[in-house]
């Protein structure tokens, strides 16, 4: 996983609540056995006017000009703003894979669904919770002027607006450490092999039927 470094990125507002993972990456693309290449199909049903299937040349498909991610002013966006309960529904990690592959690095919303929230951190994507009124203000600010960028500093846990307003955010210490250093959870866990084995031995004695 790449290290998460401080950056300033273009912001795109997706003004919807309950954006579910079916919308982020529709089911037909889940048939892939790969981890990469989902970006062109992120938000497929909102983004294109035709029906998408794996293997299509996405550059030749008719795009939906009304969908916010398709507007010229938001091309190259790295920060996505959305409303409550972003990433609800299916546990598909293809959702953060698609968002990351699309080029996004940060999602800002008042709240996230738990599984999606976890999945983001495993893929170098930072989900940031900001209060609903702050997200609302940011969405209005982004819509007000072309080229609106936010600076995201994970080390300091701050988001800074062009007018200098600083939005502090909370992040779990362990997850922050992993993101900043690009660490793989499995490697970290395997440092505790002896503890896992000791637990397993005790567990086997207490509940032998689980090992029969």
């Amino acid at each position: 996983m790449k290290k998460f470094e401080t950056f300033e990125g273009l912001v795109v507002p997706l003004d919807r609540a309950n954006v579910d993972t079916d919308a982020i990456i529709p089911k037909q693309f889940l048939k892939s056995i790969k981890r990469s290449g989902f970006g062109p199909n992120a938000f497929d049903e909102w983004r294109y006017l035709d029906h998408g299937e794996p293997g299509m040349d996405n550059s030749k498909r008719p795009v939906n000009p009304d969908f916010v991610l398709n507007q010229p002013r938001y091309q190259g966006a790295q920060v996505l703003l959305a409303r409550e309960n972003f990433g609800c529904g299916s546990s598909r990690e293809h959702a953060p894979w698609a968002l990351e592959d699309y080029g996004l690095r940060v999602i800002i919303a008042p709240s996230f669904a738990d599984i999606f929230f976890n999945n983001c951190f495993k893929n170098g994507l930072l989900p940031v919770k900001l209060a609903a009124d702050k997200v609302d203000a940011l969405i209005k600010a982004v819509e007000a002027g072309v080229g609106y960028k936010l600076k995201v500093d994970l080390e300091q846990q701050t988001i800074t607006a062009p007018d200098g307003t600083v939005y502090p955010f909370e992040v779990d210490a362990h997850r922050k450490h992993c993101l900043l250093n690009g660490l793989d959870d499995i490697g970290l866990t395997l440092q505790h092999v002896d503890e896992i084995k000791a637990f397993e031995a005790k567990h086997r004695t207490a509940q032998p039927w689980l090992y029969a």
Partner: protein
């Protein structure tokens, strides 16, 4: 010792280690595996030269991509076929037990696991599938996880997790005739919203929950994720123990007795503290029907499609307007006047034998209405299918004009050929009514099996209580 919730007990008995900030390693007793969320995890293992920690804890089944007709011809879509073949190859390579497509035990992973006794009280259960919450019905701690976590559990037998808050959903009283666990689930979501359970593990309790069969409890816990909760659970009791007894993976002999003694402790203690409590009166719950594109957009069969002008805030008003437009519905339309095009009975929510019986009881001796293009019944597993056929339910459905299919996830998420065309409206016993869930442009109304069967017969939604 202080009073503990069921969730405390399940959590505490699986903590391998815990950091000062609360980040813990939780030992996993059972990992269920299906073809969609596992290939990248197996690939990750291989790339890192790792092996599964304990293959005996794993049980695999293809379900999302499998066809529900003409199985003998195999899977026509080459991409779907490759995904199922990849699962077969990975299971063969590591010696993981898998019930393949031709096996009578094959089925939707959350139907198959409990049916085999592979889900036991007191266990931690994970699967790369959000509806893993189903298994909490057995007083187990069951989480849906992402593919990176699937790989993590394969490699370490542990999950990195922080303890959630505990919510008690107490449903007292008695359900009325024709009202089911599915209606409780939708009523709870209607009350707390799809994010109401975010950050919580929900325990369902109260007289109405104790009265539910294991299958009803599974339906309820299945949809805990639709309320935003990563886990739903119900205390173990005689209903739980009687269900598990004698199943292929259940403990036997001396181990059985030991297990039962332990399982009987799997309930919240008197005086245990919850971070939130929600109460419902079962006798007040009517058959539920969703009208929008989120499970919280729900009312009862006597209700009407709401007017966005009456939404509580501007964000919700926008959501409702978009939902009505997508669903092709006018505000204030009585739910009972909504006509449907297709009917789907099945899924990990409602694909078990009791669901088949409930739907068949409605369909018996009647005919599917002329405006219904397709009414399909998809049993949750090969064993459910066999049991239903033994009881003659297949004939009831076929005589009424339903199609009787082979087991799989089918039109719950439409990864195989079973899907709605754009604009088609479906009465579905599944769990999600999201935009495009059952096919691009699909319009889904979530209901119980009895309500779905009744909609198939009437051609529109009807109050099933008037039919029984």
């Amino acid at each position: 010792m202080s009073s503990k919730t069921l969730y405390d007990k399940l959590w505490d008995s699986h903590v391998v280690r815990q950091d000062a900030d609360g980040t813990a390693l939780i030992y996993i007793d059972r990992q269920l595996v299906h073809e969609v969320t596992s290939p990248q995890a197996f690939e990750g293992l291989k790339l890192a030269h790792r092996k599964p920690w304990r293959t005996a804890s794993m049980l695999a089944v293809p379900d999302h991509n499998v066809p529900t007709t003409n199985r003998a011809a195999g899977i026509a879509d080459p991409i779907s076929r490759l995904q199922v073949e990849t699962l077969d190859a990975n299971c063969a390579e590591y010696g993981i037990v898998e019930f393949k497509m031709g096996d009578i035990r094959q089925g939707v992973v959350h139907v198959m696991g409990p049916e085999q006794g592979a889900t036991l009280p007191g266990m931690t259960v994970v699967c790369g599938d959000s509806h893993t919450s189903t298994h909490g019905a057995f007083a187990a701690l069951a989480h849906g996880i992402g593919t990176s976590e699937v790989e993590h559990v394969m490699a370490t037998q542990c999950l990195v997790a922080k303890k959630s808050k505990a919510m008690l959903v107490k449903v007292e009283g008695k359900l009325g005739r024709g009202v089911t666990a599915k209606d409780i689930a939708l009523a709870v979501i209607g009350k707390i919203g799809t994010a109401g359970g975010t950050g919580y593990a929900i325990e369902f309790a109260g007289a109405a929950i104790r009265d539910l069969s294991m299958e009803g409890r599974m339906t309820l816990c299945n949809m805990a994720i639709e309320a935003g909760a990563r886990a739903g659970m119900v205390a173990a009791d005689d209903t739980t123990i009687n269900y598990v007894k004698g199943r292929p993976f259940a403990p036997q002999g001396e181990n059985w007795d030991k297990a039962v003694t332990y399982w009987k402790t799997l309930h919240s203690d008197d005086g245990a503290k919850f971070d939130a409590t929600v109460q419902l009166d079962a006798s007040q719950i009517k058959p539920q029907v969703t009208w929008g594109t989120s499970p919280e957009m729900v009312t009862d069969i006597n209700g009407r499609v709401p007017d966005p002008a009456s939404a509580p805030d501007a964000v919700k008003r926008g959501d409702w307007e978009r939902a009505l437009q997508y669903m092709g519905l006018q505000a204030d339309t009585p739910i009972s006047e909504i006509k449907v095009d297709k009917v789907f009975i099945g899924s990990c929510t409602n694909g078990r034998i009791e669901d088949m019986r409930e739907a068949a009881a409605i369909a018996k001796g009647k005919k599917v209405a002329a405006n219904i293009k397709l009414a399909m019944v998809v049993p949750g597993s090969g064993l459910v299918k066999a049991q239903a056929e033994q009881e003659g339910l297949d004939k009831v459905f076929i005589d009424a004009g339903f199609e009787w299919r082979d087991p799989g996830c089918s039109m719950c998420l439409a990864m195989n050929d079973d899907r709605l065309e754009a604009g088609e409206r479906c009465a579905s016993t599944s769990n999600r009514n999201f935009e495009g869930r059952q096919g691009q442009g699909s319009r889904t109304h979530l209901v119980s099996p009895a309500m779905a069967a009744a909609a198939a017969i009437a051609g529109h939604f009807v109050d099933v209580r008037e039919w029984q």
